[in-house]
Structure formats: C-alpha cells, structure tokens
Symmetry: C2
Subunit: 193 residues, 2 copies
C-alpha cells in the first residue's frame, strides 16, 4: 500500500544486508552491531523494523529469495544431472553468505514460517537429485534429503574456509563440486586435476 521512498528502500536494504552478514557469523549479535555494520544509527534500525523478530524475518525472506533466484537461474532441470548439479553448486557458492546465515541457525527457518517460499528454492534441487538417482548418475543408496544436506554442509564449510583463509575464494565452487560428486577417495584412475 504505502509507497516506499527510494532512500527509505535503500537504507532498509542496507540494514537487511548487514543483518545477514553479521548474523551469519554470530546469530546472537546485538542490534547495535548490525546497525553499525550498516552504518546506520540504532534508532533508524528500529524505525524500519519494529523488533528483532521483524529484522530476522526480513533477513530470512531476503536470503530465501536470493537463493531461490540463484537456483532457478542455474536451471537445475536442464541438461545432465551432474552438470546441472555443478551449476547449482556454483550458484550456491555465489550466495554462500546467505547459505551460511540460514544453515547456521536452522531454527530461523522454523521460527519464521516463510517455508512456503523456501520450497521454491528447495523443490527444484530435490527434483534434480531424484532425477540423477533415477538415471543412475547419482548414488541412490542414500536418501535425496541427505544428499541435499551434504550439499549445504559442504557449501557452508567452504564459505567458512574461505572466510578463514583456508581456501581461496575462486576455487570454492570447484572444490565443493569435486568433493561432493567424486568424493575424496582415490585419484589414481581419474583425469589429472
């Protein structure tokens, strides 16, 4: 209804971005820290979000939206399953901070029932995994849900490793893909990487 002014929209977006960035590393961080990260006073933060729950909700919604967009852009339903999975992994690494934010505190997804929108990002990937399992290009001895969990866990670990300097950022996507798809066992009978 009420039309948002451009400036108002900008500051609001900056606050949400800062919230995701800070809460991904420290879910219990105070609102003052988030406001500082957004280069905004604490009053302004409260002017845009009534309470902490509102801000969390907005951060979750924004993250889910970004992940959904990245997922559909990767076209998980096109091409060979393993190639599609590689594209999805690259997309996930691109929004790694948001993955990290949602993965770090699974209670957030449950607390704010934005689950309906999350299915838009979740469904296509599960469908991709099921498709890969049907045509034999993915392991069908484990559940599709587990594969998705493993995917998220590895992306999360990569985001943390990059943040800690253990892994160069440009190698994150390929490293995750290699680890998840072919595993870390035996590189003898494999094309030299």
């Amino acid at each position: 209804m009420s039309e948002d002014s451009p400036t108002r929209r900008r500051t609001r977006a900056a606050i949400v971005r800062a919230a995701v960035s800070v809460l991904a590393r420290r879910p219990e961080a105070s609102l003052a820290v988030i406001a500082a990260e957004a280069q905004v006073s604490r009053s302004t933060l409260h002017r845009h979000f009534a309470d902490r729950g509102d801000l969390e909700r907005a951060a979750v919604a924004q993250s889910v939206e970004d992940i959904t967009r990245a997922t559909v852009d990767a076209r998980p339903e096109h091409g060979a399953p393993l190639e599609a999975l590689t594209r999805v992994i690259a997309a996930y690494v691109g929004v790694g901070d948001r993955i990290r934010f949602l993965f770090h505190d699974p209670r957030l997804l449950g607390a704010h029932s934005d689950l309906a929108d999350f299915a838009a990002a979740d469904g296509p990937v599960l469908a991709l995994i099921a498709r890969g399992q049907r045509d034999g290009s993915m392991d069908s001895a484990v559940g599709a849900g587990w594969i998705e969990q493993a995917l998220w866990a590895l992306v999360y670990a990569a985001a943390e490793a990059v943040d800690g300097g253990l892994l160069p950022g440009h190698a994150a996507a390929e490293t995750v893909a290699r680890t998840l798809v072919t595993g870390i066992g035996g590189d003898a009978d494999r094309e030299a990487g």
Copy 2:
C-alpha cells in the same frame, strides 16, 4: 591439591554433559537452561563453575578429550588409509554431539586456548589424510585441511540429520563414509550397496 569428593565429581560431570548437549544446539542458551537440563539448581552450577567462561572452557576441554580418545582408539596410523579413515569416521559419529558442539561455534576453540590439547586429536587425522594423499588413495588435488573440514561438516550434518529424524542413527557412520570417500556421483560401476 584439593581432592574432589565422588558426589562432587558426579554432579560436575553431569553439568558439563548437559552444557555440551544444550550448547551444541543453542550456543546462546542461558545457564538456567543448562542447569535445568542437568537437573541441578542454578546455584549449584555457579558453585562448580565461577562464570560462563569457566563452564564453556570445561565443556570444550571435555569434548576435546573425548574426541581425542575416540580418535586414537580408531588407530588412524594403522592399515590402509581409506580403511583407517572409515574407522575415524565411525569414531567421530560416536562422539557426534561433541563434534556438533565444537563445530557449531568455532569461536569457542579460539577463545579458550585449549588448542594445544586439540592438536592431539587433530594431528593424527591430518597425518592420515596426508598419508592417503601420498599413496594415491585420497585425492591430492585438494588440500588436506579442506578434507578434514569436509569430514567435520559431514559428521555435523549427519548429527543434525539424525536429530531431525532425516537419517536413522545406525546408518550415520556408513552414510558419511560413503558420501565422503566415493561421493554421491554415479553408482553404475560400483558394487551394489
């Protein structure tokens, strides 16, 4: 110095156990919640641990000790690297709640400089990975540190999956081993699992 009474030792152990269990799922949980989980009054908790930092330190130390014991019992330096890794994975899954506790808040390991003792659990595994990479049974295209991170991440994901009912507890170890070693790609040319 002061000899600990058996009862005192028991309650202290119960509090530490409760702290690990609770903080693994919610690192910001209040001391009152931890005391309740240990079926102990908040006064008693403070009688055993001066402040929150003391309790965290004890929980970290206990977890590191448990993980170290499980690691050395798995004899990572014996036998073929991949078989040794499978044993280590089984051992890690066995102490999954402690892994989950330490992995969920990496700051804890940094805050309390019990890093010296942690090396006792960390070193042998890194050595095992390096050994596997040397003899070609493990992928040498990625860093040993990354492999260890991936191992921890998958064990963490499995612990969460079991907790959420997504994965049966008895299958956790084998699932993690299979995912990490052979990956989730192609089960066509593989012995039927």
